[in-house]
Amino acid sequence: MAVPVASKCLGSLSLLSRRLSAPEFTTRCCYHKKVVDHYENPRNVGTLDKNSRNVGTGLVGAPACGDVMKLQIQVDDQGKIVDARFKTFGCGSAIASSSLATEWVKGKSVDEALTIRNTDIAKELCLPPVKLHCSMLAEDAIKAALADYRLKQQDGQQEAVSASS
């Protein structure tokens, strides 16, 4: 009896529309309003001159989700971060994390900026557990930018030393 019913049901591909997905836990796809705010009104999107001695560039990627993030800082002669820019290609949480990161590093010294933790970013944006890696990406981008800046300063100092000798 099932066979005639089956053959009626299975006329075409379109009838296989009642597709079932494997029983998996699916989170509610809902961004917090702070994330939406940063996504729709991102702060400090843009680029600084990566060749400048006072600019540190951090370029990081997240292999699990394929997000890429660039964060740049401009530091004055007193070691204070006076400007920051970012460009992120990824999900809303990644964009929001990097946007917030650029807001936070401005006005901090290079040592103070090192203390910014992904947990602080995640807490501020109310990121769900599944998006915590986005805040980690932002923290690593800050660190990479600071490391690049330090390297440039060290190279500069070495040049000055060899020039004077």
Partner: protein, 269 residues
């Protein structure tokens, strides 16, 4: 008192059988010219050999594929109790009743595909439709609750297997998972030249003013993905799993760009 002779005779026949099989296995392994890392092809040949002889695989492999190819304990039909001889067994051979999915069965087995990275997606789709014609819950609306539940599970699993095997990226990542390799959550900053290239492509796409510009980026990305597909196939054939993983990660980034190209082109419409 029982005579020890038959026991000794049985033992010695068993020893001969084991010895013969060990020779055959080592012969198979040598003929596939595998290195210590090349478990993949060896798995396949040894697996079929052992299955043919009904032997279990003694191995430390965490791969579920090993578990499935071994002479596993016999599973019986939940309804008529007859043994289910096939893997996977969607229906009982005796009473034709739908069976629950067996845990740990590889998607390759479910879709009756060879365990290779290169796959005929048309054949895959044919198999998918064939299976859903049999397993879809719409066929079981007049059946018992148990059968309806089993058909739902089977149908969902076939969907999952199909969608995973359809795309090279998910297929490759799944193959690595079967070999016990997972991409860790984390960040990487080592390959800055690669990331700079990615940023440039993403920025160019973002700034594209016309569909033609977006299409050009899309074509270049497709080319890059095709190149990576070949490289991943080579790496997996050689059993170079770390290399395959690194290439699949690159593929992930380019696959994201491909998605963005589609979104951009929709935006132009």
């Amino acid at each position: 008192m029982l005579s020890a002779k038959p026991f000794r005779a049985a033992c010695s026949s068993w020893a001969v059988l084991m010895w013969t099989n060990r020779l055959c296995i080592s012969k198979v392994c040598m003929s596939t010219s595998f290195s210590i890392k090349d478990t993949w092809h060896c798995n396949r040949n040894v697996r079929s050999l052992l299955k043919a002889r009904g032997l279990t695989c003694n191995t430390n492999q965490s791969s579920t594929l090993w578990n499935n190819c071994s002479g596993r304990s016999k599973v019986s039909c939940w309804s008529c109790k007859q043994p289910l001889d096939q893997t996977p067994a969607f229906f009982c051979v005796s009473c034709k009743v739908v069976q629950p999915p067996e845990e740990g069965t590889s998607y390759f087995k479910i879709m009756a595909c060879d365990y290779t990275f290169t796959l005929d997606t048309q054949q895959l789709q044919k198999k998918y439709l064939q299976l859903q014609r049999l397993l879809h819950p719409d066929n079981f609306s007049q059946k018992s609750v148990t059968e309806q539940q089993y058909s739902e599970s089977q149908s969902a699993l076939v969907n999952k297997a199909y969608t995973t095997l359809l795309k090279p990226l998910s297929r490759g990542l799944y193959m690595l998972e079967l070999e016990g390799m997972h991409i860790k959550e984390g960040t990487e900053s080592a390959h800055s030249a690669f990331f700079m290239e990615l940023m440039e492509i993403n920025e160019a796409l973002d700034e594209a003013q016309t569909p033609e510009e977006a299409n050009k980026i899309g074509q270049d990305t497709k080319g890059k993905l095709a190149e990576l597909t070949e490289q991943i196939d080579t790496a997996l054939r050689k059993g170079e799993l770390q290399n395959a993983q690194a290439l699949l990660i690159q593929m992930k980034y380019f696959a994201n760009i491909e998605e963005k190209v589609k979104e951009k082109l929709c935006h132009f419409m």
